[in-house]
């Protein structure tokens, strides 16, 4: 059964204009319960807009977003979101940021239960030593790990990730990919990953769908990843199915990129002038 359905979605930020699909143009998507779907696309193709429509922060100009057959009207802890820009509350500590999400998701849980859970998730993302630090005392990578812990601790029915690991170093990135997969598998959750990294999509998803570059972004043809789980990064490189699907997707994206670049032949002259000379 489809847990999430997008039906004929159009989105523009400028409703006075004629073009109702300026950003997103007729998006149709159905995600089954328990599925892991990845959407890959270039920057500026409308990925974040799509995520915000699904999590309820934005409303489509036309069309419907259905979650468990109900129209999405608002945000909900049933859909946990890991944002690109972390979105932590700067005045709260790591512990408090996560605890706040838990209170929203499990208002009836005892203080002690929550405490155990907060600590469990902080440990999972390797931040136990930073439990009482505030976001500004943490590096970008560490902040994103807090954001991952915050989304996952609510045990959402659907995990929505908007380029969550883009700014992390390779080591942390691999660890978090595995943690996300573990939770998704253990709890039989549904996941939607937005990413620009084809390898990340191949490692994590059942299905990969490209989002063609905006304006008027639409979804491209889907690619199935028929590789048994658990997948092993080291051996993936030698897997024939992996190489084949990876090459297909990259070829498709490269073609899209070339089309876009070919459309731009404008030229601008740089005036021959230097900045003011600064004296220290």
């Amino acid at each position: 059964m489809a847990i999430l359905e997008l039906k004929n979605i159009y989105k523009t930020y400028n409703p006075t204009k004629e073009d109702k699909g300026e950003i997103l143009n007729n998006i149709n998507l159905s995600i089954k319960e328990g599925e892991f779907v990845a959407i890959v696309g270039f920057s500026g193709s409308g990925k974040t807009t799509l995520v915000n429509l699904i999590n309820g922060l934005l409303k489509p100009t036309e069309g419907e977003v259905l979650f468990k057959s109900k129209i999405v009207e608002d945000t909900s802890h049933e859909r946990g979101v890991i944002f690109q820009n972390y979105s932590l509350l700067p005045w709260l500590t790591v512990y408090q940021n996560i605890d706040m999400a838990l209170q929203e998701a499990f208002p009836k849980a005892s203080k002690q239960e929550k405490d155990v859970r907060v600590k469990e998730y902080i440990e999972m993302v390797g931040l136990t030593h930073a439990t009482n630090k505030r976001p500004k005392e943490l590096s970008g990578g560490m902040r994103q790990r807090v954001s991952v812990a915050r989304a996952l601790c609510m045990d959402p029915e659907m995990i929505i990730m908007d380029e969550p690991l883009g700014a992390l170093d390779a080591l942390t990135r691999g660890n978090l990919q595995d943690e996300i997969l573990k939770i998704w598998e253990r709890n039989k959750r549904t996941a939607l990953l937005i990413t620009n990294d084809v390898d990340e999509a191949m490692y994590m998803a059942d299905r990969i769908i490209p989002l063609k570059p905006g304006p008027n972004a639409t979804l491209g043809p889907e690619f199935k990843v028929n590789i048994a789980r658990p997948r092993n990064k080291a051996s993936l490189n030698d897997n024939a199915e992996y190489k084949k699907t990876r090459n297909e997707i990259i070829a498709y994206l490269m073609d899209l990129g070339d089309e876009q670049a070919a459309g731009n032949d404008s030229h601008y002259e740089l005036p021959d002038i230097q900045p003011r000379d600064y004296r220290w």
């Binding site: 930020y13 920057s43 970008g140 990578g141 994206l253 404008s266 002038i273 220290w280």
Partner: protein
Amino acid sequence: MSTVAKHIETQKFPANEVMLDLVDLKKIYPTPKGDYVVLEDLNLQIRKEEFITIIGHSGCGKTTMLSMIAGLNEISGGKITVLGSSIKGPGPDRGVIFQSPSLMPWLTTIDNVMLGVKQAYPHATKKQKEDICKYYLHKVGMDCAFNKRASEISQGEQQRVGIARAFAIKPKVLLLDEPFGMLDSLTRGQLQDVLIDVWNKEKITAVMITHDVDEAIFLADRVVMMTSGPKAKIGDVLPIEFERPRTRKAILEHDDYYKYRKHLIDFLEH
């Protein structure tokens, strides 16, 4: 934690070649449990027109160091000099590109770039200023969105506008904090080329943090490796001796490429 954390004799250059000099740099963040020493005994000389990339684990203090060079973060000990004079706060001689875009959301892309251009080119005509903005927005592939507000474009696009803004003022020193982290690999490659192009043409000194080892090698004259904090310092420095202009393809096929790559990855994994 690792054997590479031993003291590295940092290379010294003749004073007239040095653009940036970090001397016994120290950074302390006070915490309720006492002082947290992020950086200690950090020494690094960067020559004029050099391209330096910095790698290290997340949380080791890379951003702290860069923001201190930018003059945005107080120095707890030691000193930083630009062309021999100690820095006192931020200045237009040092342009910064942050990890995430820092635009004024209510201004158009052109006006965001114009903010910097007005400061740097008070003697230019209105037309010249506009042309400078347009030229650099075009360079980063944003010429389709001159009149869009920052709030109307995606984060990746905002990041590109931020890059155009920093380029447009032609700073003597360009400080880049993982500028391409949030971009897709295709755009990233394009912008690396733009960066090298501008760096080369304008004789800029560039210091860039990255977590992408391939990017670090492709761009740098020297890759600086920072040890893990607390008390992070320079762990190792790897000169990259590929000739310029470089192409990705030629570098990937070069015999030394995987030697360099292994050196950096070994450092990161220990």
